[in-house]
C-alpha cells in the first residue's frame, strides 16, 4: 500500500499544470467553471487542442492513440483538469462508442472512426433510450430490417443529448423481433445526415436545449456500419454501460465545486458576517467535502484493483450513486449560497438579443442552470435506484 508520488509523477503534474495554464482558452474555462453547457465551437476547439497534445483519450490503449498513463498519472491529470475548470472531452465519442469500436469493431471501422473521434471531426450522440424504455433498455422498439446491403431503420429515440450538434449517432436497434428481449438487438453507427432522420428539441427543466427526440423514418444504413455480429448488440451495449459508469463519479469537478463554494462564501454575507464564518454553512460544506474524499479514495482503490488485475463487479455503481448524489448536493449548496440571487433565472438564448449581463453578482450566473440540469444526474445512465438493484443482485446476492 502506497500513496506517494514519484519524482516522475511530480514532473508530470508540472507538465499538466503548464499545459492548462497556457492552452486552455479563457472562454472555454469560464463556461466550464460556471457549470454552463459548452458551446459546440468551444468544445471542439478545446478537444482539438487536447488531441494535438496527445491527451484526448487517456483511457484508450496506446496502440489506438491512448496516453499510456499510469493510474497515478490519470489521477493527477483529472485532478488538475478539474481544478483548472478544463472541460472533459464529451463522452459520446471518446468514452462510449470509441472503446466499443476498438474492442468489437472490424479493422475498417477502427481505421475510419477512431482518428476522427480523436480529432473531434465527428460529434457523436447516443441512441439508446426510447419512449417507454427508460432504464429498461431491453424493451426497445426501434426496428432495423435488412434490405440488401442496408438496414432500413424505423422508430424513435429519446433523451438524446446534443443530437442537434451531432454528425453521428450510435444506436441500439431490434433486428430480430421474435427473439427474447435482450437478444435480437444490433449496434449500428448512423450518419445523422442520412435522409429520414429528424431531430426534435426537448426543452429542459433548465429552459435550455440539450435533449432531443430523434425520429427514424425508413433510414437506410449500410450493413458495414454494424458493430460486431447481428443480434449481439446487447453485449456491446452492456460493455459500454460498464465503461460509462467508471468515469461518472466526477470527483475532480466536484473538488472544484468545493473550491467555488469557498470562494463565493468568502464574498457573501450572512447575519452581518462572511458566509464563510457561518457555522451551519461550513458544517454542510464540510460534510460534502469529507464524503467527496471518501468517494475519491474509493475510486482510487478500485482503480488500483483494476491495475492489479482484479475484476470489479458492481463497484462502479457505487461510484455512480455517490458521485451523482454529491454533485447534486454541491449545486444545491451553490444555489443556496447566493441568497435571494438564486431566484432570477432565464435561458441563455433569452439574453442572446439583449446587451445585458445576468443580474446579481458575477458568480450567480451558472449555479441554478447547473442545479436544474443535474437533477438528471441521478436519473441518466441507469437511475440510482437501478444502480442499487444492480449492487443488491451482483454484490450482495439478494
Amino acid at each position: 500500500m502506497d500513496l506517494s508520488f514519484s519524482k516522475e509523477d511530480l514532473a508530470f503534474r508540472d507538465e499538466v499544470r503548464e499545459f492548462l495554464a497556457t492552452s486552455l482558452p479563457a472562454d472555454v474555462k469560464d463556461r466550464c467553471d460556471r457549470g454552463l453547457h459548452p458551446t459546440k465551437e468551444g468544445q471542439i476547439r478545446w478537444q482539438k487542442i487536447l488531441n494535438e497534445k496527445g491527451w484526448m483519450a487517456p483511457n484508450w490503449p496506446k496502440e489506438y492513440g491512448g496516453t499510456g498513463w499510469t493510474i497515478t498519472q490519470k489521477y493527477i491529470a483529472a485532478h488538475e483538469f478539474g481544478h483548472a475548470a478544463a472541460p472533459i472531452a464529451l463522452p459520446f465519442g471518446v468514452s462510449m462508442v470509441g472503446p466499443v469500436i476498438y474492442t468489437f469493431g472490424n479493422q475498417e471501422q477502427k481505421d475510419k472512426y477512431l482518428p476522427r473521434i480523436l480529432n473531434s471531426d465527428d460529434w457523436w450522440c447516443q441512441g439508446y433510450s426510447e419512449p417507454g424504455s427508460g432504464s429498461d433498455l431491453a424493451s426497445l422498439q426501434t426496428r432495423a430490417v435488412r434490405d440488401g446491403d442496408h438496414y432500413v431503420v424505423n422508430g424513435q429515440k429519446i433523451w438524446t443529448s446534443f443530437a442537434q450538434n451531432a454528425d453521428m449517432i450510435f444506436c441500439l436497434v431490434r433486428t430480430d423481433s421474435n427473439a427474447k428481449q435482450q437478444e435480437g438487438i444490433s449496434f449500428l453507427l448512423i450518419d445523422m445526415k442520412t435522409p429520414g432522420i429528424t431531430v426534435k428539441p426537448i426543452i429542459g427543466l433548465d429552459k435550455e436545449h440539450s435533449l432531443n427526440e430523434v425520429f427514424f423514418d425508413d433510414v437506410r444504413v449500410p450493413v458495414e456500419n454494424r458493430i460486431g455480429e447481428e443480434n449481439k448488440g446487447w453485449t456491446y451495449a452492456k460493455f459500454l454501460l460498464g465503461n460509462e459508469r467508471t468515469g461518472i463519479a466526477r470527483v475532480a469537478r466536484s473538488k472544484r465545486q468545493v473550491e467555488r463554494l469557498r470562494e463565493i462564501a468568502s464574498l457573501e454575507r450572512s447575519g452581518g458576517r462572511s458566509l464563510a464564518e457561518d457555522q451551519d454553512f461550513i458544517n454542510k460544506l464540510t460534510r460534502i467535502e469529507v464524503d467527496l474524499m471518501s468517494l475519491e479514495y474509493t475510486e482510487l482503490r478500485y482503480l488500483s484493483m483494476i491495475a492489479n488485475g482484479k475484476e470489479l463487479t458492481a463497484e462502479p455503481s457505487l461510484l455512480k450513486i455517490k458521485g451523482t448524489e454529491i454533485q447534486q448536493r454541491l449545486t444545491s449548496l451553490l444555489v443556496e449560497s447566493l441568497g435571494m440571487y438564486g431566484a432570477p433565472y432565464e435561458a441563455e438564448r433569452a439574453y442572446a438579443g439583449r446587451n445585458e449581463a445576468p443580474v446579481g453578482p458575477d458568480y450567480a450566473h451558472g449555479p441554478m442552470a447547473e442545479h436544474l440540469y443535474l437533477r438528471a444526474a441521478t436519473i441518466y445512465g441507469g437511475s440510482n435506484e437501478i444502480q442499487r438493484n444492480i449492487v443488491s443482485k451482483m454484490v450482495l446476492g439478494l
Binding site: 433510450s129 429542459g204 435533449l211 454575507r269 447575519g271 441568497g339 431566484a343 433565472y345 435506484e385
Partner: protein, 378 residues
C-alpha cells in the same frame, strides 16, 4: 382546539378550487407564464370581483375582515395550481403594510383601489448584501426640505414591473444593521431617479432589481413612523411567510398527486413502477412531509392571531423551516420519480419543483429559520 373549517371558510376554499380548475390547467399556466406580463389582468379582475383582493382588510375600508386563516385557505388552493397573479405582493405584502402602518389618508387612497383591482403594489426590502435580514438596510433616505431623497439598490423585488406603487425600506438613521432607524416609503413606480432591471425568476414569475438615485418623495410618502419601520416589516413578513407556507402546502399536495398518478401509470420491466417498494416508501415519505407541512401551516395561521410575539415568531420560523425542508424534498423527489419526463419543461411537475425551490428560499431559507428558531428557543 379545532382544525376544521367553518362553513364560510369551506365556501372560500371551494371557490378558489373552482377558479384554479377553470383557469389553471398546466397548459394554460405555461402559456401565461411565458407572456410578457407573466400573469392575467382578466384573472386579476375576476379575483377583485370575487372579493378576494379585499380578503385580509377590515370591513371599514371595504374588506372582508379575514384572518390569516382565510389567507392561508386562499393561498393553499392557489398553490395547487401555481397561480401567477401577484396576490402575495399586492394584497398580503403591499396592502398589509399600508393597512398596518398607513395614515388614514394613505389607507383611503390605496386599500380601496387594491380591493377593486385597480392598483398593484410591490415591496422592496432586500438588498444585495442583506441576504434574509430585514434589518440589513443600506439604502438611505435623507431628509430634504419637506420630503426625503432616496439612494440605494433593492434586489429581487417580486412583481415590481407591474406595481403602481413600490414600498421601499430605507434607512433614515443609524448603521446598516441597526434595528432602529429604518423607514418605509410609498414610491410611485414612475418617479424620476427610480430605474428597474426587470427579469424572470425560475418559478415563472417576474422580479426586478431597483436602483434609487436621488429619488425625491414628499413627506406624505412616509409610511408609519420615521425610523420605526422594522416592527411593521416583521409583522407583515410573518403574515407573508404564513401565506407562502400555505401556498407550498397546496403545491406539495398537487406535486404528490401528480407523481403518485405517474408511478401508477408508468411501466418498466413490465410492471407499473409504483409497484416497486422503494418508490412506494419514497412516495410515503413525500406524503408524510406534506401532511406535516399542512399541520404546521394550519398551526401558524392560527397562532398569528393568538400568541405573544415570542411564540408567534417561533411558530413562523418552525413552520418555514419544516415546510422549506419538505418543499425541497418533495420537489426533488417528484423529478426523480418521473425520470426523464420530469426533466422536461413541457411536463407540469418541473414547474412545481421550481416554485417549491423558490418558496424554500424566499423570506429566509431553511437554515436561516432553524437558526432563528434556535435563537428564540434558547
Amino acid at each position: 382546539m379545532d382544525f376544521e373549517l367553518s362553513d364560510e371558510q369551506n365556501m372560500l376554499k371551494d371557490s378558489v378550487e373552482r377558479f384554479v380548475k377553470d383557469n389553471y390547467s398546466p397548459e394554460a399556466r405555461a402559456k401565461l407564464a411565458d407572456t410578457e406580463l407573466g400573469f392575467s389582468k382578466d384573472h386579476w379582475k375576476k379575483m377583485a370581483e370575487l372579493g378576494w383582493l379585499g380578503l385580509p382588510f377590515s370591513e371599514e375600508v371595504g374588506g372582508f375582515g379575514g384572518t390569516a386563516v382565510e389567507t392561508a385557505i386562499m393561498m393553499e388552493n392557489m398553490g395547487s395550481g401555481l397561480v401567477l397573479e401577484p396576490f402575495l405582493s399586492t394584497v398580503v405584502m403591499g396592502g398589509g403594510l399600508v393597512a398596518e402602518a398607513g395614515s388614514q389618508s394613505q389607507i383611503e387612497a390605496i386599500i380601496p383601489e387594491v380591493i377593486e383591482g385597480n392598483m398593484m403594489l410591490a415591496f422592496a426590502y432586500a438588498e444585495p448584501q442583506s441576504r434574509f435580514d430585514l434589518n440589513d438596510v443600506e439604502t438611505r433616505a435623507a431628509k430634504s426640505g419637506d420630503g426625503y431623497v432616496l439612494n440605494g439598490h433593492k434586489s429581487v423585488v417580486y412583481h415590481a414591473a407591474t406595481a403602481d406603487k413600490i414600498i421601499v425600506s430605507a434607512r433614515t438613521r443609524g448603521g446598516s444593521r441597526d434595528e432602529d432607524g429604518i423607514s418605509l416609503f410609498i414610491v410611485d413606480n414612475d418617479t424620476s431617479g427610480l430605474s428597474r432591471r426587470d427579469y424572470r425568476t425560475i418559478d415563472g414569475q417576474r422580479a426586478s432589481d431597483i436602483k434609487l438615485e436621488d429619488v425625491k418623495v414628499g413627506s406624505d410618502a412616509l409610511l408609519g413612523q420615521e425610523g420605526k419601520g422594522l416592527p411593521v416589516m416583521r409583522s407583515v413578513v410573518d403574515r407573508t411567510i404564513a401565506a407562502l407556507c400555505a401556498e407550498a402546502v397546496g403545491a406539495m399536495r398537487t406535486a404528490n398527486n401528480i407523481t403518485n398518478e405517474y408511478i401508477k401509470e408508468r411501466k418498466q420491466f413490465g410492471t407499473p413502477i409504483g409497484k416497486f417498494q422503494v418508490l412506494q416508501h419514497r412516495m410515503v415519505d413525500m406524503y408524510m412531509e406534506a401532511e406535516q407541512s399542512k399541520s404546521m401551516s394550519d398551526m401558524l395561521a392560527m397562532k398569528l392571531e393568538l400568541d405573544d410575539e415570542g411564540e408567534r415568531r417561533k411558530a413562523v420560523s418552525a413552520a418555514k423551516a419544516q415546510i422549506g425542508q419538505a418543499s425541497k424534498f418533495i420537489g426533488e423527489q417528484s423529478i426523480q420519480l418521473h425520470g426523464g419526463m420530469g426533466m422536461t419543461d413541457e411536463y407540469s411537475i418541473g414547474h412545481y419543483f421550481k416554485r417549491l425551490t423558490t418558496i424554500e428560499m424566499l423570506f429566509g431559507n431553511t437554515d436561516y429559520h432553524f437558526k432563528q428558531y434556535a435563537a428564540l428557543a434558547s
